[in-house]
Amino acid sequence: MPPKGPLPQRQRGATLIREPGGEGVPAYHPLRWHLLASLLLALIDGVATLALLLLCYFLFRAYRLSRSELFLFFFLGFSVLAAGETARTLMLVAAFLANSPPLAFFLVHGAGPAPLLLQTVALALIAAGYALEIAQLRRSQGEQPDAAAALVPLALVPAWQRPWSGLFLTLSFVNVALSLFVLLNAVSVHLSTRSTTSLLPVIAFALLLLSNLTLPVAVATASEELFLASKALYLLGLMAFLALAVRVARG
């Protein structure tokens, strides 16, 4: 005979987690849900980190072989980006493993600005690489280097110094500007070669730009969905780099 009256909680879809001496917390408790989401993000971040590390490895070998400083800039840029991703992955895993909710809260929320700052440094290095490339190309063709193109990353310095509404938003805006500059250069490279290999950085940097455009909106509107969309776009961008690394390795 089924019991009469309201159904117990377990039958309505909520699994109870019993804690010693406690009443039990539903499994979809907000903090626990966030930690699960954090672990999922950490896993995806881990894959993205591997993609970046692989690309860094090839860029470093290319630098060693050619001694071209352009490869060095790209290698340093992608290394810093990989370092940011590694830091984020480790913090998210630590947040998941931490038993103390205040520590978990700090780690989950602290994981945001640090990799964002590293992303700014990474994009600045990649942008500098592209700017140097333009200057070298012009010089080899007997033309004067395009000062405007070379100075765009430097022009961003005042924006960096001006404290806007906060570090997070400032970094986001700087990253948008840098991503746009890098994307325009990648598009220009692709238009001159028209190859699939040069299309992959275009896709990657376009997704990074979209991610950086979505992030400040997500923060300003406190929208969790937009934040996740920004994260998903960023990771898709890194997957394009993974495709590039695989293409380089396989030949």
Binding site: F58, A62, S66, F71, Y130, E133, G142, A186, V189, T193
Partner: protein
């Protein structure tokens, strides 16, 4: 627009590419790698010192042969070319 000069690395790769197709003597290398006799000898000495090619004496004729290390160097260079193409780097 000024024609671009080959870099040292490009010249070494051009010599190795000729040898990849089979052993070659100095005359053939000069012709196919588009180098003068003096410059070719200088580059061949460098390649030999790095263990990328080896000198094979066949009677009076001296030929050059690519080593396993040289073949690996060419594969590495091809990987670098793909990266250079992706980021628009001129080599």
């Amino acid at each position: 627009m000024r024609p671009r000069r080959r870099t040292r690395l490009r010249i070494l790769v051009d010599i190795l590419r000729v040898l990849e197709a089979g052993d070659a003597n100095v005359s053939r290398l000069m012709l196919e790698a588009n180098l003068s006799y003096a410059r070719l000898l200088k580059y061949l000495e460098e390649l030999e010192a790095k263990g990328l090619v080896k000198r094979v004496e066949d009677g009076r004729e001296v030929r050059y042969r690519i080593t396993a290390r040289g073949a690996e160097f060419l594969r590495e260079f091809d990987r670098m070319l793909r990266l250079a193409e992706a980021f628009g780097i001129e080599l």
